[in-house]
């Protein structure tokens, strides 16, 4: 498709042009260019997508980024390592524990630091719990994108319980500042594990409600089946990751394929899809909620006693060097690249935000579908603008 010249971007349809009296010779076919966002209910933050429409069919969709840019990486270069960890929370703000985990792992790798056993288990528990919370939030908003309002409130009801648990553990509800270099900030409060187990039992019971409202709903299936199909080769070529990739049938989960922390000790499966459409992405995430719950059950069973933080110097100065560490965030491969010059502040920080790479595929998977499918497709990528714009 030829790109529109500047003078052609004006909407040709409208009463004003009509009143001036159209010259029949000048009438020609043009795509309707619609600006979706940055203020739009279904762009999950401040994403802007420029849509070129032919009737209701999407000819092209171009994402425009940067509305939430706040110089995360540059600011990190002037802060100490200890200060950076809580700052990471602001990237993927619906799964802040995983942001902290990624950064802590990178710094610990540079310092060659051993994390106590109990701290590793606590880290697994809180990150998997956060993954469930993140997927529940996604589930609710995805339903909302398709016009189903009620699953949204059901998902929030359950996510609220996780947030309450986190509040009890860390005092915060969204930006936890809980993971520390070499461990976690504090041990689990009394009775926390019991409450957690009660919650997981409850979650197992209510998952059926989502199946009833969405999974088996013919309208929901009709809206998501065969929509936004992503072929595995395209996904791999654009370095997509996470549930977005797995829905296309590629079994790639860093927890399984490149185990970090203590993930090799747990028995869990990696749900994958077959067709790579929106419905498969939904099923994969739903499956991941169940698998995360399985991991937490095992962690609850095996968690040892002991210290929750290694002996770490007050001022952290990793030796000169560079390192990359990556974890499986709810959105995909979350990587942190650190360059240390031996001082208390990093020389360079790079944040590989999975949604940024996944979002690149938006034009490819939305061409040819209906305008109404756009919300389903954008929703199914599961983007968080906080980490895309950084």
């Amino acid at each position: 498709m030829a790109h529109a010249k500047p003078d052609e971007t004006i909407n040709p349809i409208g009463p004003q042009e009509h009143r001036e009296g159209p010259d029949a010779k000048e009438l020609k076919r043009r795509e309707l260019i619609v600006n979706m966002g940055p203020q739009h209910p279904s762009t999950h933050g401040v994403l802007r997508v420029i849509l070129e429409l032919e009737g209701e069919t999407v000819v092209n969709a171009t994402p425009v980024l940067g509305y939430l840019h706040r110089c995360f990486e540059k600011i990190c270069e002037s802060w100490t390592y200890v200060q950076i960890v809580p700052f990471c929370d602001r990237n993927d703000y619906v799964a802040a524990m995983l942001d902290e985990h990624a950064m802590c792992l990178a710094i610990e790798r540079l310092m060659d630091l051993e994390v106590p056993e109990r701290a590793e288990y606590i880290r697994v528990i809180v990150t998997e719990l956060n993954r469930i919370a993140s997927h529940l939030l996604w589930l609710g908003t995805f339903g909302l994108d398709l016009g189903a309002v009620t699953p949204f409130l059901y998902a929030f009801r359950d996510r609220e319980l996780i947030i309450d648990l986190f509040q009890r553990l860390t005092g915060a509800r969204l930006f936890y500042s809980y993971l520390r270099i070499g461990g976690v900030r504090n041990d689990l409060p009394d009775g926390f594990l019991k409450e957690l187990e009660d919650f997981l039992d409850y979650l197992d019971r209510v998952m059926g409600e989502y199946d009833a409202l969405l999974t088996n709903n013919p309208i929901f299936v009709a809206r998501t089946r065969g929509v936004g199909v992503l072929r595995p080769e395209d996904a791999l070529r654009s370095s997509a990751s996470g549930p977005f990739l797995r829905a296309s049938g590629v079994r790639w989960d860093l927890r399984k394929n490149r185990p970090y922390s203590i993930y090799n000790r747990f028995d869990f499966e990696v749900p994958v899809g077959t067709s790579g459409d929106c419905y498969d992405r939904y099923l994969v995430r739903l499956g991941e909620i169940r698998q995360s719950s399985r991991i937490i059950y095992q962690a609850l069973r095996d968690i040892p006693d002991g210290p929750v933080r290694a002996d770490v110097p007050k001022v952290i100065k990793p030796p000169e060097g560079r390192g990359y560490s990556r974890i499986e965030s709810p959105r995909g491969e979350l990587g942190v690249y650190l360059v240390s010059d031996g001082s208390a502040t990093p020389y360079r920080v790079y944040w590989r935000a999975p949604s940024f790479y996944n979002l690149q595929l938006l034009p490819a998977i939305s061409r040819g579908y209906r305008m109404a499918d756009m919300t389903a497709i954008i929703g199914s990528i599961d983007i968080v603008l906080g980490e895309i714009d950084r």
Binding site: R19, A148, R157, N217, A372
Partner: protein, 318 residues
């Protein structure tokens, strides 16, 4: 009656209808919030007017009335201003034939059903006026969808009603109710009732058919540029139409005002609001269809089903 008396009579009836529409909207908007709240494990409004925030809608109306009257610069002023009025008129007119009791009807037209169908189909015109006149791309998309959907769904609704007309042998709503002596037409015409309810949901543009508004896709669809009083008018009519659809459905399929013990008017309102509740229940449970699925459902499923229904009815009558 003299001309003056006729005039006063007509004015009184119009005032009655307007009062009903307003009070009904006040009640239904509150009820919808409560119903959705309870379905979603919330309480709904509880602050304004205890118990249960029953004054919430009145507070909202006051807010809407006190808003600035905005007409966007690029809009087609005439169409933009006229659209809500054109939307409002058929909503008032249609109440003329709604029979709430054996004698409680403003005018028992002998072509009542035809009248209802004809009057309600004017609504799509105003939606298109609003969408076009706003000169906004989202509104335009919304109104195009509305035009496609409403035209598609008028056909099955009309067809579904034909079965009832065949059984009753009359186009008058009162005659239809009288014909349901003992056996309601929902039992004789289950297919017809199903098609009528689905088609009406689409004509009301409510989830799963609320494509012309589609909050999460088109922001607000055809009424995105409207605010204050004009927007309130759209909202008012929307809730008035829910009652109209339910009331006509009650008259056609649920035996109208028939029922034991209670007075006919009470029976009629009970059945009507039961249908209203069902419509709300559906809205807060289902996702939204896509435009091609929506029209596909009408042309490929509802219309054949309605035709089969007519065929079966005809065979039985023979």
């Amino acid at each position: 009656m003299t001309t003056t008396e006729l005039l006063w009579d007509a004015l009184a009836k119009v005032a009655l209808i307007l009062a009903f529409i307003s009070l009904n909207a006040l009640f239904l908007i509150w009820a919808e919030r409560k119903v959705s709240g309870f379905i979603q494990r919330r309480l709904g409004p509880v602050r304004v007017g205890r118990p249960h925030g029953f004054l919430q809608t009145i507070a909202d109306v006051i807010k809407l009335l006190s808003k600035e009257d905005v007409v966007p610069g690029p809009a087609d002023r005439l169409l933009f201003i006229l659209a809500p009025v054109v939307f409002f008129l058929p909503a008032v007119l249609v109440y003329v034939v709604v029979p709430i009791g054996p004698r409680a009807v403003i005018s028992d037209l002998n072509i009542g059903i035809l009248y209802v169908i004809a009057v309600t189909s004017v609504g799509v015109l105003s939606i298109f006026m609003a969408g076009w006149g706003s000169n906004n791309k989202w509104a335009l998309l919304g109104s195009m969808r509305a035009a496609a959907a409403l035209i598609a769904y008028e056909v099955p609704v009309v067809l579904s009603v034909i079965g009832v007309i065949m059984l009753a042998g009359s186009l008058s709503l009162q005659d239809v109710i009288r014909a349901q002596d003992g056996l309601w037409f929902i039992l004789l015409q289950p297919l017809g009732f199903m098609v009528y309810i689905i088609g009406s949901l689409a004509e009301l543009s409510r989830i799963p058919f609320d494509l012309n508004e589609a909050e999460s896709e088109l922001v607000a669809g055809f009424n995105v540029e409207y605010s204050g009083l004009r927007w309130a008018l759209f909202f008012l009519v929307e809730y008035s139409n829910i009652v109209v659809v339910s009331a006509v459905g009650t008259a056609l399929f649920l035996g109208g005002w028939r029922g034991p013990f209670l007075p006919p008017v009470v029976w009629f309102l009970l059945k009507t609001y039961l249908l209203v509740f069902v419509i709300m229940w559906i809205r807060w449970t289902l996702p939204r269809l896509r435009i091609d699925q929506l029209t596909g459902l009408a042309w490929k499923f509802l219309i054949p089903v309605a035709l089969v229904n007519i065929g079966i009815t005809g065979l039985i009558l023979l």
